[in-house]
């Protein structure tokens, strides 16, 4: 997946000379995950900018570039370190278009690796996407395959609005797959049906797609037909894909590695309660991380895995 991200950046930079990258260690070092490998050499230090260590500086500077009309793509080394720049994201980036009556669109892409499973402890593992989905004016995108990573990142870079592009770092290298050539875009705001089924709908995204896929597949032998939807864009949500699937299956399980309380699953459950209540045959189930900080030694206990997802699916199907 990390190579697909690198290719998307290269494609976008080749297509548009005003696409710039900025972040910590992204130039000479090619990024700590190598997402920007080779780009400094290819596009030069005016376009691949190694910055001082300051997230508020990176994001604020990117906002200034975007107000002027450039297309900056900022890298925040880990989502866990984005908070010094959080004010710039929620107070400035998300609000510029609105507060200026549409006169100052502010199109910045912020790429950031997120999530657990790499033995990163409290500060290299968190999954805090809902801080951003809760803020009007931000689009929030999470790919789970190399093809989507490439296609969604290209869409994000050429989107007119700010996009938080959250990269599930656990599957940077673990998930491989074919990637189309060239400027092939995947639309923002459209979920992907990973596998069809008719007994239950499983909603997941990012690094939860592989264990959710395993869980669904293993249940086939037991006669449970589970549909798996990769949400891909968390904001704006593809509400019709969510409702369409549950109207068919009548059951829903939401999976995310973020904490449960007020997590993204709560929004999905609420949307289903509001708009698909009469289709539901069973309570909506959530398989999530815990309401604790992210633990180092017990990370495998913290993170949902195929067994936990499987259990929730079975319980939901058996409930009614």
């Amino acid at each position: 997946m990390v190579q697909a991200i690198n290719r998307a950046l290269r494609t976008a930079m080749a297509a548009d000379p005003e696409v710039l990258l900025l972040g910590e260690d992204i130039g000479v070092n090619g990024g700590v995950f190598r997402a920007t490998e080779g780009l400094l050499k290819e596009f030069g230090s005016e376009r691949v900018i190694d910055t001082p260590l300051s997230e508020t500086g990176i994001i604020g500077t990117a906002i200034g570039m975007a107000l002027y009309g450039l297309k900056p793509v900022a890298e925040i080394q880990f989502l866990d370190f984005i908070y010094p720049g959080f004010d710039q994201i929620v107070s400035e980036l998300a609000k510029f278009r609105y507060r200026s009556g549409g006169q100052y669109p502010c199109h910045v892409v912020i790429r950031s690796p997120y999530g657990g499973g790499i033995k990163g402890g409290l500060y290299h593992s968190q999954s805090t996407e809902v801080y951003f989905t809760h803020t009007a004016g931000l689009k929030v995108v999470v790919p789970s395959t190399p093809a989507d990573a490439q296609g969604l990142l290209l869409s994000a870079i050429f989107d007119p609005d700010p996009v938080m592009f959250l990269e599930p770092k656990r599957i940077y290298r673990a998930v491989t797959g074919e990637v189309p050539e060239g400027d092939h875009r995947v639309p923002i705001g459209k979920a992907r049906n990973v596998r069809e089924g008719h007994d239950v709908s499983v909603f997941a995204y990012g690094a939860m797609i592989p264990p959710a896929t395993d869980a669904c597949q293993s249940l086939e032998a037991e006669g449970i037909s589970a549909e798996l939807i990769d949400l891909r864009t968390l904001s704006p949500l593809d509400t019709s894909a969510v409702l369409g699937s549950v109207e068919k299956t009548g059951r829903a399980v939401v999976v995310h590695e973020a904490a449960r309380f007020c997590g993204y699953g709560a929004e999905i459950a609420a949307v289903l309660a509001e708009k698909a209540f009469y289709s539901l045959k069973a309570p909506v189930a959530r398989v999530t991380g815990f309401d604790t900080p992210f633990p180092y030694a017990l990370e495998n206990l913290y993170l949902p895995n195929a067994a936990r997802i499987r259990e929730a699916i079975v319980a939901t199907v058996k409930a009614a």
Binding site: E46, S54, G60, M65, L67, Y68, E92, R99, G137, V271
Partner: protein, 349 residues
């Protein structure tokens, strides 16, 4: 004209002014003086309208006009302004129509910002003045990114970042100054040190004797300027702007000024300012200082000033009447501009 404490004199002779400001010096000073009277009249009118409940809120710039006017007159058309709390006047001097600004103050349907922000937070895209935020300091790094863009596109423009003395304490001040130093960008950092951040005196913001000295930490020149001397302010700004334009990098200018008004219409300085503050501030009021100079040079008459005030008053009356006759933004504008047109707000339905 203005009664009250005698203003600190501006020590310039006509030949000085000719040498410093060029052949057109008297017109420049007249323009500046006219803007000072306009800004003062605007502040007075809006405070009165706020008290009457006709305007929701107002943040005056009384006492700080010389800096805004000098910036408005010293910048080029292609320069960008990233305002702090009190730089609305810069946009007006650079050509943003006063009538449009008054529509904004009334948050009516002709406010370019569609009434989404509190009064005194204008957007003036046509003069490259970026829409103001209430968050102290966040604009500083934006100026830096914009300046990066100037150099990237070979645009001979400069970005001005304004912020108050309180603004020097926020993290974006450090980040912005640091990035501008490292990348050697065409930014002029303008600290309007009016010596107060609401109730906090400047000594509570920093232990340095002069805020300008902070520039040293970022490898750029820093200068302290008498910000109620219009002439010195104009010269220092012009010099810093030209240095930036020539590729010589950023400068920090600390303008020492005196906040002559409450922080905003919601503030009561009687709770925290010493008794003699008002009088000291009045001695440094940039308007009588310039007025006295113009008078000494024989460039001012009672009649001229009376006529100027009459025109300003008529313009303001007309602008207020137009704003009060304009309906508020329609409910259909509520969800507009969250994203680009045609993009759904939070989810597809």
């Amino acid at each position: 004209m203005n009664a009250g404490p005698s203003p600190v004199p501006l020590p310039y002779s006509a030949p000085d002014l000719q040498r410093l400001l060029g052949a057109d010096w008297s017109r420049l000073l007249w323009t500046a003086y006219r803007w000072m009277r306009t800004a003062r009249a605007l502040d007075e009118r809006m405070i009165a309208l706020q008290r009457q409940g006709r305007v929701g809120f107002y943040g005056p710039g009384t006492g700080q006009e010389a800096v805004s006017i000098a910036a408005g007159l010293a910048t080029h058309e292609n320069d960008w302004v990233f305002p702090g709390l009190r730089e609305q006047l810069v946009a007006l001097v650079r050509g943003h129509p006063l009538g449009t600004y008054v529509h904004h103050l009334f948050a009516d349907g002709l406010d370019p910002g569609l009434g989404r922000q509190m009064p005194c937070h204008p957007t003036a895209r046509e003069v490259h003045q970026v829409s103001m935020s209430s968050c102290v300091g966040t604009q500083i790094t934006h100026a830096v990114g914009c300046a990066y863009g100037f150099r990237f596109r070979h645009d001979a423009a400069v970005a001005l970042a304004f912020f108050g003395d309180g603004g020097t304490s926020v993290n974006d001040f450090h980040a912005g100054m640091n990035f501008a130093g490292v990348f050697h960008l065409p930014v002029v950092f303008c600290c309007t040190n009016n010596q107060w951040a609401i109730s906090m005196p400047v000594e509570r913001q920093s232990h340095v004797a002069e805020l300008a000295s902070k520039a040293a930490a970022y490898g750029m020149p820093g200068r302290r300027v008498d910000g109620s001397d219009f002439i010195e302010t104009y010269l220092q700004l012009s010099q810093a702007l030209e240095a930036a334009r020539r590729g010589e990098g950023p400068t920090l200018l600390e303008f020492v000024i005196y906040r002559m008004s409450p922080h905003t219409t919601s503030d009561d300085p009687g709770r925290y300012q010493p008794k003699d503050w008002k009088e000291r501030a009045a001695e440094h009021d940039p308007m009588p200082r310039l007025e006295q100079l113009l008078g000494a040079l024989g460039l001012l008459s009672q009649d001229l000033v009376r006529e100027m005030d009459r025109q300003i008053d008529a313009t303001l009356r007309e602008a207020v009447a137009a704003a009060e006759a304009t309906p508020p933004p329609g409910p259909d504008t509520l969800e507009r501009d969250v994203f680009a047109p045609s993009q759904p707000v939070a989810g597809t339905d």
